[in-house]
Symmetry: C2
Subunit: 150 residues, 2 copies
Amino acid sequence: MPDKNIARYFQLFNEIGIIDQLARALFEARLPDGILVSHFAILNHLVRVRDGQTPLALARAFQTPKTTVTHTISVLVRYGFVDLRPNPKDGRSKCVFITDAGRSFRDEAIAALAPDLAEIAAVFPPGTVEPLIDGLEALRVWMDARRDRE
Amino acid sequence: MPDKNIARYFQLFNEIGIIDQLARALFEARLPDGILVSHFAILNHLVRVRDGQTPLALARAFQTPKTTVTHTISVLVRYGFVDLRPNPKDGRSKCVFITDAGRSFRDEAIAALAPDLAEIAAVFPPGTVEPLIDGLEALRVWMDARRDRE
DNA sequence: TGATATTGATACGATATCGTACTATATAGT
DNA sequence: ACTATATAGTACGATATCGTATCAATATCA
């Protein structure tokens, strides 16, 4: 059983990688020049999950080195999309807050992408993608937990 | 119907992005220092699809700018994993050939990842991932074709 | 055939991502 | 309290990725 199946799992991640690349390119084409998915992702996370998180918490959430988050946040500060304030509970730490400008930008970005998503929805109706999302979510949750064990 | 469903499709790509990030990190931890997934991906493609492709063909296959491919290939040449030869059919063009060293490296990389994939296979048996792969493949094929229409 | 447009690759510069090292603060152990 | 260790963030340097401009070769077409 091994080799052939292993190849299948290999393909699974291959497909995921290609789709991610295609989706990124598509999304970035809808974002203003110079704004990348990585910038949007932070804003989106701050809205969806919660405000005032530390850079380190964001780094963990995105599976990315903390230095990368430092850089991305500095860009967002420059755009005026987030505020970086000292953490009252810990002198070493900071808290990231989204600004009104950041919030509107995030909303506009989502609106700009909506037509594309609607087009996809027309071809792959909810009934076909729901199981996909569920399966991917299960895989993501497991991989995320596994990572912490390492 | 729109908004709630749109959010679901948004989540689909979100899950895909996170898994890609996790898978990349996992794979790169198994690769020798300094070798990235992007390097491996080229070698793997040359073996799986075929040898002697042009840089531009690779750029298209990976949905990446051709300048990125130029750079990645130069790295692989430096490692001695590929040869870059002139294209006899077109004076502007080159052909990328994998070397024996590149081939063995690719095989070793896959072998190094096998235990992780086996671990995943133990938790998500083929019966559960096959529909996932099929669904993702369909999505990838459609998005790929759609991109060409733009 | 000659002028024009297109194409494949690269040079170059800008930004993103990441690893290492460092500083300041907090925590643990004595 | 004091020392040792751990942690949060950042500075810095290296490489990756990408956009624009450029050059050479090819294709188009009058």
